[in-house]
């Protein structure tokens, strides 16, 4: 068809023009053909555009800046917290021939085939935050059982040994969430059998939904004395719910979130304590770990350098090796002001 022929010519012309424009752009594009000495590390968070991961990215950027031109760090996350989107990114990173892929998996099994392909192609694979079934190293946020235990203990401290409690989580399909929930339940069974979880609600990353759900729970289950809000967006939402109902101090709220988001609730007394880790440090450590992995320095029992965080020594686990970012940090109104993220 004549039209199609004209079209192809027009297309070629447009393409040349477009390429001329894009090649001049200082976008991340220029790094794709980077020199072979430079180590390219692809960091894939669970989702792009959530403030929590913005904090992680800060740490990643800090590490990248420190390491200078030897390392190129690529931050590329999916727009939905779904494994399929991550599989696409992993595949693209394989094709872009990066040196290390570090992924916070939305589903440990779903990303495994793609990660195996990466390994087969000679790319080092590691996981962080959300573990994957195929990886040489896992930079773990926190031990699920320790974390769950800390939360359960805090709850028991605030509501006593005999009470109804409820849980607000992000989604029941998120592996971290279910692992932490198991940790909480295990600790309850072991040390606080009088605590009874009456319901578990999903709020996604929606702070408003968490707030509304908490209000509903408090009203629908009048015997509930405490709420576990175990995701970053839910804790302030739940605290807000308790506060707006005027029940500050009467209903305990326990969970995890970033200090800035919950500081105000410590001031008002709604929150007595929260369990935290430092997402900035997590990102920072991930980059240094990736570098160590690329250089072959990740060996069981041998410490590798992690910049300002000191050194970390990988331990063996069921899949391969792991390091733990830190023990759960418990925050109270005394020390919450010391942190800014």
């Amino acid at each position: 068809m004549k039209l199609t022929r004209y079209a192809a010519v027009l297309g070629a012309g447009l393409a040349l023009a477009l390429t001329g424009c894009t090649m001049g752009s200082p976008d991340g594009a220029t790094g794709s053909g980077g020199d072979d000495d430079q180590i390219q590390i692809a960091i894939i968070p669970k989702i792009n555009g959530i403030p929590y991961y913005q904090a992680v990215e800060k740490g990643v950027q800090e590490a990248a800046d420190e390491l200078g031109a030897d390392v190129e760090v690529i931050w590329n996350g999916p727009s939905t917290a779904e494994a399929s989107a991550q599989v696409q990114i992993i595949q693209n990173m394989i094709n872009a021939k990066v040196d290390v892929i570090a992924v916070a998996a939305n589903d440990p099994a779903a990303v495994a085939p793609a990660l195996q392909q990466a390994e087969d192609a000679g790319i080092k694979v590691m996981s962080w935050d959300g573990d994957a079934d195929v990886r040489e190293l896992f930079v773990q946020l926190i031990d699920a059982n320790e974390f769950g235990a800390a939360l359960a203990d805090q709850m028991a401290e605030q509501v006593g040994e005999d009470a109804d409690v409820a849980v607000v989580t992000s989604t029941l399909t998120a592996p971290n969430q279910s692992a932490w929930l198991e940790g909480i339940k295990a600790r309850i069974a072991e040390a606080h059998p009088g605590l009874n979880i009456v319901t578990t609600m999903e709020s996604g990353e929606d702070q408003e939904l968490a707030m509304n759900q908490t209000k509903d729970i408090i009203r629908a289950y009048p015997d509930v004395k405490g709420v576990f809000a175990i995701t970053t967006a839910a804790l302030p939402g739940a605290a807000q719910a308790v506060e707006s109902l005027g029940l500050s101090g009467e209903i305990a709220v326990v969970g995890n979130s970033t200090p800035n988001a919950i500081k105000q609730y410590f001031d008002s007394g709604t929150l007595k304590s929260a369990v935290l880790w430092n997402p900035i440090d997590h990102g920072y450590l991930t980059v240094y770990s990736a570098l160590a992995l690329a250089k072959g320095e990740v060996v069981e029992g041998e410490a590798y350098d992690a910049g300002r965080l000191g050194s970390y020594t990988p331990q063996a686990d069921a899949t391969s090796l792991f390091v733990m970012l830190s023990a759960p940090l418990v925050f109270t109104s005394d020390n919450i002001g010391d942190y800014d993220f």
């Binding site: 959530i50 403030p51 991961y53 913005q54 702070q207 707030m211 629908a220 289950y221 967006a233």
Partner: protein, 327 residues
């Protein structure tokens, strides 16, 4: 104007059934505090629904509602955080929403792209743009008390969002039924060709409805952020579907030309009620999403059955305007 009583009746019936079940099984639902809270949620949802009503009544659709909600909410919160005070912050949120709505309006009226395509495109551009401009996401905390009063305060025992919603609903109802402008909206929705021949500037009307939707979303997001005391960039995730659901369940025909404010309010009540009721009835949260879908479907079926019995035929055209009436 074209009032469709049948769907209003069916939603009211549904509401009645749910309320009756709640009264029997979970009387605690009717605590004044809970109802007040529910009322606030319904109010904000109703405002969102009003915006959707305007757009759908002219036969268009706006799937970028969630993105506009998020951007205007973040804009307003940023202003409040910078100390600009509640009035200015609200104004900024509304203005942002209006501008974004205008972009949609231009695409649909001047470039004549079908609204579902245009707003699908702008949804991506807006949400991607928000993440890009906020450098990965924003979380504004500790908003000033005079601003959060908009979402948490009350006047004479009635919460501020409810007051907002009441005022807006009354204004909209008057606009739609008593003024020429309102009649034009339904006219364009019913039959754009005929409306044009009658001298109505269909393009202006359609464009205006997108701006109206943006304004409504700006107000609703301000109330939401104020209620929360914090603002995250993922504010709008559930809003798009919510807006369409409320509008449609509320009797706004996707073919255009019908709709009522009362329907919107009833639908907002039904949607918020089902969400809450599931908790109060101690139903397994795992089933909540499917039950909500089921509920909406039932409400729809009922409204259609009602309509059939009332003898109205549903027009057999596509929900997307044909090329002819676009020209």
């Amino acid at each position: 104007m074209y009032r469709d009583r049948s769907s209003q009746i069916s939603i009211a019936v549904f509401l009645g059934i749910v309320l009756a079940v709640l009264a029997l099984l979970a009387p605690r639902f009717f605590d004044p505090a809970n109802l007040g809270d529910l009322g606030t949620s319904v109010a904000i949802t109703a405002v969102v629904g009003l915006g959707a009503l305007a757009v759908i009544a002219t036969g268009n659709i706006d799937v970028s509602a969630g993105a506009i909600f998020a951007i205007s909410g973040v804009a307003g919160a940023s202003a409040a955080d910078a100390g600009l005070g509640p009035v200015a912050s609200l104004a900024i949120a509304v203005l942002t929403g209006a501008v974004l709505g205008a972009v949609n309006g231009v695409l649909v009226t001047l470039l004549q792209i079908p609204s579902i395509i245009a707003t699908l495109g702008t949804a991506s551009v807006f949400s991607g743009g928000l993440i890009f401009l906020t450098d990965g996401g924003l979380w504004i905390v500790g908003l000033p008390k005079d601003y959060t009063w908009l979402g948490q305060g009350s006047v004479l025992g009635v919460s501020v969002p409810i007051l907002f919603a009441v005022v807006l609903c009354v204004l909209s109802a008057l606009l739609l039924t008593q003024t020429p402008a309102g009649r034009r909206i339904f006219a364009v929705g019913s039959n754009a060709e005929a409306a044009r021949l009658a001298g109505i500037n269909a393009k202006l009307v359609e464009g205006a409805t997108f701006v109206i939707n943006g304004i409504a979303l700006g107000i609703a997001s301000t109330l939401t952020v104020a209620r929360l005391g914090q603002a995250q960039t993922n504010l709008g995730d559930a809003i798009t579907i919510l807006a369409i659901t409320v509008a449609v369940v509320g009797g706004t025909s996707v073919f255009g030309g019908t709709g009522s404010v009362l329907g919107i309010v009833l639908a907002a009540a039904l949607v918020e009620l089902t969400r809450s009721a599931l908790t109060f009835l101690h139903l397994d949260p795992l089933w909540s999403e499917s039950l909500q879908g089921l509920f909406i479907l039932a409400a729809l079926v009922l409204s259609v059955v009602q309509r059939r019995r009332a003898g109205r035929r549903l027009r057999p055209t596509s929900i997307f305007r044909t090329e002819a009436s676009r020209a």
